[in-house]
């Protein structure tokens, strides 16, 4: 699957194999409390299964200063 991470700097990864959203975030060491995973137009919950053909975007929700 294609994974685009905006944290907030953009980077792209390609991963093989199905996994749930919460597993993906854990592998990438991203906190589910501060990140949103999007597939197409849909926001995904942690239990959603991701497949090889998916393209997902992970957005950091944190801003500060």
């Amino acid at each position: 699957m294609d994974v685009i991470i905006r944290n907030p700097v953009r980077r792209e990864l390609q991963l093989q194999g199905s996994r749930r959203v919460k597993q993906l975030l854990k592998e990438l060491d991203l906190n589910p409390e501060s990140h949103i995973v999007i597939r197409g137009e849909s926001l995904l919950t942690g239990d959603e299964m991701l497949r090889d053909q998916d393209r997902v975007e992970i957005l950091s929700a944190i801003s500060g200063g």
Partner: protein, 313 residues
């Protein structure tokens, strides 16, 4: 995972509420949070004129969208801070949102007001950029609201902002700041407008989710000056705790409001005076904004008599 209100697949999970919502019911949840917060803390009434501080980020645009949708008289105020491309993008996003909603946006430039933006101001004052930025914004929100007849200033501060600020204040035992930290600050001086934070029960992930579902374009990029800010460290720590123990951030902040702040307020007796230079409320003879402005004007007179802004990069 299903929505708790209907059989549709959920798009947002809220572990601290033990809930999950589909997109339409999530929007309803956010609207209900705003309505409940406004009512519970008597933030404003339908006849109030609300000045909404707009940065171009998710929180301020979500707040403005919610207030307009609820039928409030809500005018945006965007202060251009002169922080390079970040400020340019922030202004564009704010203008586009206002245009899309047919809403009024007041735009104010720090460069026009002071003769310089945040980066040079930081060097002149020898203080972190966020310090001068915050001082200017607090002062200008109040001044512009007063001058233009607004009865309340609303900002998009969320639960993460408030919990992180509380953590910083507690770690340093800053009693005065703790006594003043509230999602609804009544005016205690004729020249001070009420200040409210109607989104204080929603996390950053929740306001971002609201914007994404509503199709609101916001500035995702971080302010370049925020890198290394303590607030980001505190937010990260609190979110790590939250992951293991959902509800901690809310309990931390709301517990403070319910059990600690009343006691701190009772011992806080600060008499506000009118600044001798601008008339705005202050605890001394001259307010911190006017003292800062004097230093800036001295700098410009000595170093850049033809204008400082060209060197403000």
């Amino acid at each position: 995972m299903r929505c708790i209100k209907c059989p549709v697949k959920a798009s947002v999970e809220l572990r601290r509420h033990n809930s999950s919502f589909c997109s339409p019911h999530y929007l309803e949840f956010v609207r209900n949070q705003l309505a409940r917060n406004v009512k519970r803390l008597r933030m404003f009434a339908p006849e109030d004129r609300i000045l909404v501080a707009i940065s171009g980020g998710k929180d301020s645009l979500a707040l403005w969208d919610l207030l307009l949708e609820a039928g409030y008289s809500a005018v945006g105020l965007h202060i251009q801070l002169g922080i390079g491309e970040y400020s340019v993008r922030s202004a564009e996003v704010s203008q586009d949102f206002a245009q899309s909603r047919g809403a009024e946006l007041i735009e104010f430039s720090l460069d026009q007001e002071l003769g310089m933006g945040v980066p040079l101001l930081s060097r002149v004052l020898r203080r972190p950029p966020c310090s001068g930025c915050g001082l200017n914004k607090r002062y200008l929100f109040n001044k512009i609201a007063l001058e233009r007849g607004f009865t309340v200033v609303a900002t998009g501060h969320n639960l993460d902002d408030e919990a992180a600020t509380l953590m910083g204040n507690v770690l340093r035992w800053q009693r005065e700041q703790l006594a003043r930290q509230s999602p609804s600050l009544e005016s205690n001086h004729p020249q001070m407008v009420r200040k409210v934070k109607p989104l204080y029960t929603l996390t950053e992930r929740e306001t971002a989710s609201y914007c994404l579902i509503r199709g609101i374009d916001y500035v995702v990029e971080e302010c370049p000056n925020a890198k290394g800010a303590h607030s980001l460290l505190y937010k990260d720590i609190l979110n790590r705790i939250e992951t293991e123990s959902p509800g901690t951030k809310q309990q931390f902040f709301q517990g403070f409001l319910a059990r600690m702040r009343p006691a701190l307020q009772r011992e806080q007796t600060v008499d506000l005076l009118a600044c001798e230079e601008c008339g705005q409320p202050t605890t001394g003879e001259v307010c911190s904004y006017c003292r800062m402005k004097d230093r800036v004007q001295n700098y410009i007179a000595v170093n850049a008599p033809n204008g400082a802004s060209r060197r403000d990069t």
